[in-house]
């Protein structure tokens, strides 16, 4: 179901004349201004709905594609404790995918539609997952930096104007903050371990730092959707503001880790009370976004293959459900006769 026409303002009797567009828009604007949550049955502008579907679907897709680079290390985790932590983390990501697809379904689109669009390359997932996990330390770097950046982005979404998204994010952020601490702790063990382990950790941080900064999206002046999303209170802070917040958190954490961040221009700016950082290579960001990152094809192919390999299973479940629904109907018929 993709129609948006059936949505009406809540609380109106069926017989009342339909409210005009201006009235509905005014009620919506008032709700956003008053920080009241917009709920699935409330009227909302089509563009607001479309923006949410785009953003929430991208978020859900990122959770399920994001399972791949980390699941890459489940079978090779170097201790049973780490294996258990990593399995639990990947399982959480599947769970986040489920909450987010469900939250997106409240906007009148189905999970199947969204997956079809992902598989056809018509909806995106976070570009960060187009980078490879080459060593065990990458699992730690993803936890510390990628999940850390995601949390910085996502905590404000807990106050997003759309109710189901905001509520899903509360739960997701709690779990993500575990992942972030686990990743940090993994890196700390490596950094304080053998020289080989320390080098492995440093190499991973070198490779993940810049892509993590790019997760906040283009600079404020270049961001296509930002202004409208801020006005609708889907987004609460600008890309650059959040990126700065992330950098300021990471620099002292890197010091405790005993690892360096690969940016010679990173230094404390007394007057701003923040760290200045070097210029981001936006051409790399654009290339990965265009599909030319190291793993774009691999990730999408793997996802499509898993989906195709599962077709017969999903068909079997549907056939079984249909057969047994018919059995139940027959049983009711017989009971009535």
């Amino acid at each position: 179901m993709t129609t948006t026409a059936e949505h009406t303002a809540p609380g109106r009797a069926a017989s009342a004349p339909p409210p005009d567009q201006g009235e509905l828009q005014a009620a919506f604007d008032d709700a956003v201004a008053a920080d009241t949550r917009i709920e699935p049955r409330d009227w909302m502008p089509d563009a607001y709905r479309a923006t949410l579907v785009r953003q929430m679907a991208q978020h859900a897709h990122s959770e399920i594609i994001g399972m791949q680079p980390e699941a890459n290390w489940i079978t090779r985790a170097p201790s049973l404790r780490r294996k258990a932590i990593l399995m639990a983390k990947v399982q959480d990501e599947a769970g986040h995918g489920l909450y987010l697809y469900s939250a997106t379904e409240t906007l009148g689109v189905s999970r199947d539609d969204l997956l079809d669009k992902l598989h056809a390359g018509r909806q995106r997932y976070s570009s960060i997952f187009n980078y490879p996990t080459l060593t065990w330390a990458d699992v730690g770097a993803i936890g510390w930096l990628v999940d850390g950046a995601a949390i910085t982005n996502q905590v404000p979404l807990c106050r997003c104007s759309y109710g189901p998204y905001a509520r899903a994010m509360v739960r997701i952020c709690k779990e993500e903050s575990f992942h972030q601490r686990q990743g940090y702790e993994l890196l700390l063990a490596l950094s304080r371990g053998t020289p080989e382990q320390h080098a492995m950790a440093q190499d991973a941080v070198n490779r993940w730092w810049w892509p993590s900064l790019m997760m906040f999206g283009p600079a404020d002046g270049e961001s296509a959707h930002s202004a409208q999303s801020m006005a609708w209170k889907i987004k609460r802070h600008s890309n650059d503001e959040l990126r700065q917040r992330f950098v300021d958190i990471c620099v002292p954490q890197a010091e405790v880790l005993g690892l360096t961040l690969p940016d010679p221009d990173l230094r404390w700016n007394e007057s701003r009370g923040s760290y200045d950082h070097g210029a981001i290579d936006w051409s790399e960001f654009q290339e990965v976004l265009r599909g030319n990152g190291p793993c774009n094809e691999q990730r999408l192919d793997r996802r499509r293959t898993a989906h195709e390999n599962g077709t017969w299973v999903r068909e079997a479940a549907a056939a079984y459900a249909a057969k047994h629904a018919a059995d139940q109907d027959n049983a009711h018929e017989e009971a009535r006769a």
């Binding site: 791949q68 079978t75 258990a84 999970r111 017969w312 999903r314």
Partner: protein, 246 residues
Amino acid sequence: MTPVTAAESLTPELAAARALGDDALVLAQRLGEWAGDAPVLEEDVALTNIALDLLGQARTLLSLTGDEDELAFLREEHEFRNVQLAELPIGDFADTTARQLYFSVYQELLYAALADTGGALAPLAAKAVVEVAYHRDHAEQWTLRLGDGTEESHRRMQRAVDGLWRYTGELFEPLDGLGVDLPGLHPVWRERVADVLGRATLTVPGGPDRTPWAAGAGRQGVHTEAFGRLLAEMQYLHRAHPGASW
């Protein structure tokens, strides 16, 4: 490198605990291969969850008999005492479902009996049997759906239950020191499995449930070809950094 205590020098009870720990560890390792590739997102959650339960059981059981990481990462194939059913490749979703059905019905019976013995493993078994009842229910629900779903799913599921049947006899070989009559549980297992297969419109396999050669000797340290590769993957990183902490 610290030598790992050989199973032969453990008490029979600890040797049995290690064998059960190996079953759980090796099957958790196999199930972990599904993460991200399951036929539907709910199964990514479910299969990983089952793997986590098994890994938890493995850690508790192995820790009774030595250092869990030394046992998992520094033993060679012939030192593992898991049943061969646990180590076979994941195959397709029907193969995984069939193995889960056979294994979870076995584990549920075993842990329930073990909990009743009042021995050292009883508290662990009492906790695990609750988890395993969910695994069995999950396997049963999918056996019904695949067996009684489409023609294709029926064909795949029948092939899977037939193919794994010859690895099931080993599950009921006596295991000294456990205080559980494993051969005595075999008829109950057969009855329960036959009931599920029947409801799933599947035929109970007619062939032998063990063979004179490979199948059915995991408890003696004899494994399948696939097992060496499983260990190579699981152990390589730990072995590449001797003495490192993670």
